[in-house]
Amino acid sequence: MKPLKLIVTTLACCVAATVGATEFRTLDRAAAAQLVNPSSYTVPTIVALWSSECVHCKKNLKLFAEMAKADRRFKLVTVAVEPHFAGLAEPLDHLAVPGQRFAYGPESPEALGYALDPKWRGELPRTIFFDGKGGKTALSGVVAEATVRSSLGLQSNP
């Protein structure tokens, strides 16, 4: 490989890895409002709410991660509904969950939860599905693959 091409490739990888969104971004109310606004999405998207205290969340995260690997037509965003702490990424890393990661910022958890979903009462997992055409569905609990596909408007397998 020629030096220039090597540098370009290396830098591209670095940029890609950085944008690969393995770091958490803090979520404030404005970001939450935009994150759950259907007009923010032109492709099917899952916004998965989870926490380190949620024993049922890993089932959804595992399913979403596996589906995301096999089907590039939709995007996954995760929101840890708690502030960042050392080790918060571990469940996501362990399951190789792709996509942008958010964690709660300093505003009150009630305010952030309300901005994400006024109908949500704190139960986890909570998942908000966008079909990329203005449609939005919020579901609590462990979900089946067929439910994910229909909620995203993806009626067929990839």
Partner: protein
């Protein structure tokens, strides 16, 4: 973009090419990106607020509270009902991990002699594991070295403990325990939820009998309610997982020896879900034997906090408390006086709400006690003699109280 920031000016041209290459290579992915307003970054992450606090009045009338500070549990004392607090006492001299947020918090009770009894969950290295810890101070200042209450020492879930002193003077600790789930998983068997275990002390917390299983199939992470029945024996109420996955509540009474009676279903909202509500119940018994409860459930598609009276497998007078955002209610009584508190977000602030009854729960009046713009703990109702007191810790205002009158 740390990897980009370290690139020197001499290679800016190369970086531009690289960036262009990335944009081309990931155009499809870029189209999928939502564009929320990205505030802050990982480096600006806030500290995790761990506001989980318990409060109780000692026999001498002073208000006490237990909190977490770093790797210590602290006991605070107020001689003026929470308006000011003395320098706290350290409960655990040796530092250790302590759970103190959400449904977890250090617990506090006083025995008849006025000794301070403190419990907490110590998280262990593996996720969702922990031990139930307990310490005692006869003079409310010098604590014994903490002990792990349960004999089972596997690195598994023993968490979400609740602590109470019964009318007969026994100390009861109950917690969520996954030893039966672990056994089932090892044998490749299904097992719904977790289990409730309890340990009883006959000597004011100086020693505990071996723990006993109270019930299989509890929910995994909701606080347990303990209340004294009219005969002084403890009643336990918890979120249960009824078949196939109905997350309602169950109730059981422990005998004088700590042996549980038959557990019964207490609520019938039939919330079928595989999820963690993180929203446990509360229970109190008035002198006429009426069992007053508050709990959270989704019913008819709507999540609400409910009040009701539990009567032999039926719920009487069930109604929603507050509005759609009402959460984490607590209930207590002093004779026929019944007090309920909860917190409720109004779109901007979180309000501390109360309902008070002077006639054993026949009628209630509602009031707003306080509000905060920041994070807050779950509120509690505690008793001093014939009076009830709402205790609430908020991130901005600290530990405060309000008499329910």
């Amino acid at each position: 973009m740390v990897s980009v920031a370290v690139v020197r000016a001499s290679v800016r041209g190369v970086m531009a090419i690289a960036a262009s290459a990335f944009v081309v290579a990931s155009a499809a992915a870029a189209d999928l990106q939502p564009t929320p307003h990205m505030h802050g970054a990982a480096a600006a992450m806030p500290a995790r607020p761990e506001l989980g606090t318990s409060a109780a009045f000692a026999p001498d009338g002073a208000l006490y509270a237990v909190t977490k500070e770093g790797r210590h549990v602290l006991l605070h004392r107020s001689a003026d009902d929470g308006r000011s607090w003395e320098a706290p006492v350290v409960v655990n001299a040796e530092p250790e991990q302590i759970s103190a947020d959400g449904e977890n918090r250090p617990k506090l009770a006083f025995d008849a002699d006025g000794a301070a009894l403190v419990s907490w969950t110590r998280p262990l290295a593996k996720r969702f594991t922990g031990e139930i810890r307990f310490a005692r101070a006869s003079d409310r200042r010098q604590f014994t070295a903490p002990v792990t209450v349960h004999r089972d020492r596997q690195e598994i879930t023993h968490r979400f403990e609740s602590l109470a002193v019964t009318g007969a003077g026994k100390v009861v600790l109950a917690w969520i325990d996954k030893r039966d789930l672990e056994l089932a998983q090892a044998a490749n068997r299904d097992y719904r939820g977790a289990a409730i275990y309890a340990a009883v002390s006959d000597d004011g917390g100086r020693s505990f009998r071996a723990e006993q299983k109270i019930a299989d199939h509890s929910c995994e992470c909701c606080r347990i309610a303990i209340a004294g029945d009219t005969d002084g024996l403890p009643l336990l109420m918890w979120r249960h997982v009824f078949e196939p996955n109905e997350r309602d509540h169950a109730l059981v009474k422990l005998g004088a020896d700590g042996v549980p009676g038959q557990d019964v279903r207490a609520t019938f909202d039939r919330w079928r879900i595989d999820a963690c509500p993180h929203h446990g119940p509360s229970l109190t018994v008035t002198p006429d034997g009426t069992r007053h409860a508050v709990w959270f459930n989704e019913k008819d598609g709507e999540g609400r906090v409910f009040y009701g009276r539990l009567n032999d497998g039926r719920v009487e007078g069930q109604r929603a408390l507050g509005g759609e955002q009402a959460a984490h209610a607590d209930i207590a009584n002093a004779g026929q006086r019944v007090g309920i508190v909860w917190k409720e977000f109004d779109g901007e602030r979180t309000r501390l709400q109360a309902e008070i009854s002077a006639d054993g729960g026949t009628s209630f009046s509602t009031r707003t006690l306080a509000a905060t713009g920041g994070a807050s703990d779950q509120p509690r109702v505690i008793r001093r003699g014939e009076r009830l007191f709402a205790f609430w810790r908020t991130e901005k205002e600290g530990m405060q109280g309000h008499w329910l009158e």
